[in-house]
């Protein structure tokens, strides 16, 4: 069975589920909160230092970063948990894996699905910011450059988180486990980020996605590009050997 076919069924499985509320609703909710924040406090925010350098769109981004850096790893945690919960909750694993599909294609398809959903969430966040900024009537034209870089760093940084949460969610039948670990790590991100070494830990890297000067964007880039593929392969190797009991 070819990977695209397996992937197509993975997308199909998310039909009319709660997934879309999370992927679309989550980012829009955050964008909504930021909208209220910037709208109410715009004059104050303008007085903060660096505001001239950042520009109005940059100010909005600066407001969003910390909130989103915590929510995005949580969101990925939940996306991965839901993808796997679909298989665990009504014993679908044994049926799925006895069909003529390779374990590898199933594992990679689910990984790709989580990536796709995460990227959709990032896209909706950007869209939300764009609309929020337009409604507030930010004076400058939309800052494509910095928002594009912000989205790109997130997209790369997310890969490591996805590989970890994907494997954890596949490992535990009890959905509480991967969710507790993922949310725990998301909350700890801000502490992890204090340490030079631990700031490369996938869940912490979203804190370094601000496209501003002085922010070490190498965190999400290196972490995502290394941890993403490496942990995907390690998880896959384990998944292929696993007994489905």
């Amino acid at each position: 069975m070819r990977l695209p076919d397996v992937f197509a069924t993975e997308v199909y499985k998310q039909k009319n589920g709660i997934m879309w509320w999370l992927v679309i609703g989550g980012p829009l909710l955050i964008a909504g909160l930021i909208f209220i924040d910037v709208w109410v406090r715009y004059d104050y925010l303008l007085t903060k230092n660096r505001s001239a350098e950042l520009g109005p769109w940059g100010i909005m981004l600066g407001e969003a970063v910390y909130l989103w850096a915590m929510f995005m790893p949580m969101g990925i945690t939940l996306i991965a948990a839901i993808v796997h919960y679909r298989e665990f909750s009504e014993n679908a694993w044994k049926h799925l894996l006895s069909l003529p599909v390779t374990r590898g294609s199933v594992y990679v398809s689910k990984w790709l699905l989580i990536v796709l959903l995460t990227y959709l969430a990032i896209l909706f966040l950007m869209l939300g910011f764009f609309v929020a900024g337009k409604i507030i009537g930010l004076s400058a034209p939309f800052a494509f450059g910095s928002y594009g870089r912000y989205a790109l760093y997130q997209a790369v940084g997310a890969l490591g988180i996805i590989s970890i949460q994907h494997w954890l969610s596949s490992r535990f039948k009890n959905v509480i486990m991967p969710v507790a670990i993922g949310i725990g790590l998301s909350v700890c991100a801000i502490f992890l980020a204090q340490s030079k070494v631990l700031s490369f830990f996938p869940h912490a890297t979203i804190l370094y996605t601000m496209p501003f000067e002085g922010v070490e964007n190498n965190r999400p880039l290196l972490s995502g590009l290394i941890a993403g593929p490496v942990l995907l392969v390690l998880g896959l190797l384990e998944f292929r050997r696993r007994d489905i009991v």
């Binding site: 076919d5 069924t9 039909k15 589920g17 009504e90 014993n91 044994k94 049926h95 003529p100 007994d243």
Partner: protein, 303 residues
Amino acid sequence: MAAFVIETNNLTKTFKGFKPVDALSLQVKKGEVYGFLGPNGAGKTTTIRMLLGLIRPTKGEVRIFGKPLERYRLEIARKIGSMVETPSYYGHLTGYENLEITRKLLDAERKDIDRVLEIVRLTEWRNTKVKTYSLGMKQRLGIAQALIGKPELLILDEPTNGLDPAGIHEIRDLIVTLPEQMNMTVLVSSHILQEVERIADRVGIINHGKLLFQGELAELQSRSQAKIYVEADRPDEAARLLFNTGYRIEKREGALYIDADKSRAAEINKSLILNGYDVSHISEERKSLEDIFLEMTKEAQSV
């Protein structure tokens, strides 16, 4: 074409010190309904999961359609339909959508979904979410999933588990008609002998991971010939009399067990009475397959 559709050689699985399946050598012939019997926890499900490639054997080999499963799993899986224990489904999708996923992965034709829905009589419920189905309907959906793509081999693990009597009957009928209609080989497991008794051509009986018997039910039945049970006064003398008229007799606890079926009961009774023995009880004794099955699995337990 290989002689056996399923063949296992010394199949063994060890989980942290305990062996749910121990040196199992099964042979399932083409076109038969094979009943895989054993009490709960005997190792049936573990064996079946190994046949489907869900669990790796610790030792031994599985060959299906004459090919080693380990190397040809994809090719083999294309021709197998299965339902293992509890039905597998996605509750938030409809019956049709569930079948569509299986169909796509099997690369079967779309109209096959209608065919299998018809077979398990779920056509009416095709657009209803599966989480609202009754257990029997879910079980039937499981069978529909197994039938998609017209498999050559059907593996059903406890397909009637948790069903009401009507549901059990229905599934049993289905299993009987499938090999005839579609030229399938069926392996069906159960912990209840009666369930398999009427449908299986051959059975394998397993307990504690070991195969205790494999063969036709008639062969198993022949292990228990009908006997006539007689209570009479002076049993020793009565036994001698009957022995002299050509019966094989066994004496246990003062009663006689005669190797004969009930058509001879009247004759035996007459000859005893005419020769002056009072007969206080005469009846036919036949061990049911169930008794044999229970005895067999119990013996193994006490070892």
